[in-house]
Amino acid sequence: MDLKNLTITQIQELLFSKKITAVEIVNFYLERIKKIDSQIKAFITVTEKEALKKAKVIDEKIKKGESVGKLAGAVMAVKDIFLTKDIKSTASSQVLKGYIPQYSSTVYQKLIDEDAIIIGKTNTDPFAFGGSTENSGFFTTKNPWNLSKVPGGSSGGSAAAVAADLCQFALGTDTGGSIRQPASLCGISGLKPTYGLNSRFGITAMASSFDCPGVFAKNIADLALVTQITAGVDSKDATTVDNPVPDYSKLLKDVNLKGLKIGLPKEYFSDPINSEVKDKVMLAAKEFEKKGATLVDISLPSTNLGIAVYYVLVPSEISANMARYDGIRFGQNTGNNPDIISYYMNTRGKYMEAEVKRRIIIGTYALSSGYYDAYYTKASKVRTLIKNEFVDALKNVDIILAPVSPTTAWDIGAKANDPLQMYLADAFSVCINVAGIPSVALPCGFDSQNLPIGFQLIGNFFEESKILSVAHQYQQFTDYHLKETPLSRGDARRAEGF
């Protein structure tokens, strides 16, 4: 049975009506992973044993007529920065090579408690530092639409796994675009929730005031279903907010596009945007207009400051968070050293990837004596300006529509030696993180090289229901989210760009 392009709910209907077993579902994905993941390299670890074991338990429960969790039969891939008890969690860094955590991240635990099945851990830039997976301490993931292109990042392995139908949904994190950008570059959907909706507990910390765990899937209905489970207050993460979690799935239909005011920020439709991306995203806006929405030109004048704010504050928080990797309590180390300082310096020098070192050094510089006010305090004030612009704009429009990435997927290696160029690729995604508001990315077409283009719908704090329902409506009258990658169709030659 072909499970590609079925929603989780549709697969569960097959499971509960006994047309398919959970073991058969798992085997469908395991066979696909065995067949094509050697080309894509989305997975660092494939958890075949755990997946089959869990599937058998679910099948047994269904056979006996016992109740099962809300995500029974849903097969997920998990970004390797989420700790998964007894399953290797490397954060795609040599620092944590071989690390087997003693506990699980809250978000992952909530999902397996509802009988979701983990099929593997996915590649990312190390500790999520990057936008292409090229910084990974192990290997680069390839874009399933064209194997010579990056999948985006940092959650590139999760995005590629969903795009190539190697799982039904995947977990990622979005600190500056790391869910939305790879979703856009891989032609799938991804939700960066409001900061504080999903718990950060048990995820290797990057920038604590920015990090947002979230979900990738082929369609918005699946994002709603999974976010329903992941969301909510967690006593282990004091920044999670104690709001009741809305019924996202039920609310998907609860939107009227007629009269919906959609803001188009002019800064997101100008330089450095590629013209093909601009045209397709404008076309998406026009499709909403045809359904009765009103398009409103708006301005977010501080957009051009987003990257600078981000690359002061995020490395600063990184430099503090990365201090824990001392090679003593966990992680690789350099063995015998004459004293503790050389132990730290040699261990961190040997195992941290170049981008990890660069960001720690930028952050340490920005926070160091004499520079703190010029960088950290200044950037924190500009952060206020960016946040206020979004909040003010969303008083006059219901939702904001913008491209996710200025370009489609680029060639592997093209930006690898120029960190600043890599940072600038985040121009349209970082401000949303600076502000802390939610945004959902979804596909809206292809460029002339058949590479996916995505757009994002941005809402005010905790307006996940609104942005998901508008995005869901878009997927009711378009079929971009149903397109299969050349690899999914078994057409390897096209995927190689011939």
């Binding site: 003693q102 900061y195 690359y311 002061v312 090679g327 966990f330 132990y343 510089y365 004030k381 600043l420």
Partner: protein
């Protein structure tokens, strides 16, 4: 040309503060990369932020408290299970003070 933002001496000092040993070739590669990033960050200095309060957190959560209750946590064996070197139920670290 304006003054460089970061010299080799600065880089070596910062790397030491961050407890990262850099090789000579890493230093040579990183220095111009860091210079160009720091130059880019100058755009912030052109923004007027008089009377603007800094944002350190994006939601209004503050002083989240909990009851001071004893709860189950890792036993000693589990807590030490990822360490490279342990002895008698402790983490082993290189000497922190000279003999």
């Amino acid at each position: 040309m304006s003054e460089p933002k970061i010299s080799m001496v600065d880089l070596e000092h910062i790397a030491k503060l961050a407890r990262i040993n850099l090789t000579e070739s890493e230093k040579t590669i990183f220095l111009p990369q860091l210079e160009s990033v720091l130059e880019y960050l100058d755009v912030l200095n052109q923004v007027n932020t008089d009377n603007v309060e800094p944002t350190f957190r994006v939601n209004d959560q503050k002083n989240v408290l909990r009851d001071d209750l004893i709860k189950d946590s890792f036993d000693q064996k589990t807590a030490l299970s990822s360490a490279s070197k342990t002895q008698d139920g402790y983490f082993v670290v290189p000497g922190t003070i000279k003999k």
